[in-house]
Symmetry: C2
Subunit: 157 residues, 2 copies
């Protein structure tokens, strides 16, 4: 269950649903060369197994009014459990923070933030990030262009 076996048909289903999560079951079945019923049963099974965790609409961040993405690496002052935990919790709660990753390497956290221009970035730093205690150092990189952004990778085997 934690590593369900996925045959070629499952893979094709996942591939199609990854590209278009609102495709009708009838169309999906046609594309993968199955009749609707077994196709639907497989989709159900994949959902129940947790391979498919959710479906969601992909929104255009530019049209929502926070067009710039900034990647911020953060080094904390201390590395005990509580400091790490607390910082992560604070970050999670900020709506403009899209991703929060606890990492190993030369920094502790990598966060991805959506801001409205440099003005929005400055506001985020001053009103939000710098109010969170325990940050030793942060390093930001503005995203000039995102060439690829997909949710998942389906290994061949």
């Amino acid at each position: 269950m934690s590593q369900p076996r996925l045959d070629q048909i499952d893979r094709r289903i996942l591939h199609e649903l990854g590209k278009d999560g609102r495709i009708s079951n009838a169309q999906l079945a046609q594309r993968i060369g199955l009749s609707p019923s077994p196709c639907w049963q497989r989709v159900r099974r994949l959902e129940q197994q947790g391979v498919i965790t959710n479906y969601c609409a992909i929104l255009d961040q530019v049209k929502l009014g926070a067009a710039e993405i900034v990647m911020i690496e953060i080094v904390l002052e201390r590395h005990d459990d509580e400091t790490l935990e607390t910082f992560g919790n604070r970050m999670q709660k900020m709506p403009e923070v899209l991703e929060v990753h606890l990492t190993t390497g030369e920094y502790d956290y990598l966060i991805k933030v959506a801001v409205d221009g440099t003005r929005g970035y400055e506001e985020f730093l001053r009103r939000k990030l710098y109010h969170v205690p325990g940050i030793r150092h942060s390093r930001s990189s503005f995203v000039l262009r995102t060439l690829k952004d997909v949710q998942a990778y389906l290994p061949e085997d």
Copy 2:
């Protein structure tokens, strides 16, 4: 059109569809307190305006067999258009590369890669990344835990 005005109802629609992209129009209408027809018209309009760009299934990367995520910062040897372009194109084509961002700051590209353990990471580096010419330096961080990963941020106004 490039910055469509979104009223409160639009925002609630986007919020709901961001959480569940397969919700039926009837249910969506009920949640936002509208009857199905105008709700559906708004969804259509948001799609046509490009605010909603797509729908997709969210897959569990662990169950797909490439459980680890690595963030790799890359500095290129040269920074002319062609070098930058070529590198980005090569990265995009690798299926295990989930995200490719051209950035400003202390590195040129940030890529997010799904690998199967340190073994998979080593394979990626040796068989894929290090075959791409023009890399001056790279710096990797393994993701220990992802606390948040959402697609979009909907500013209040």
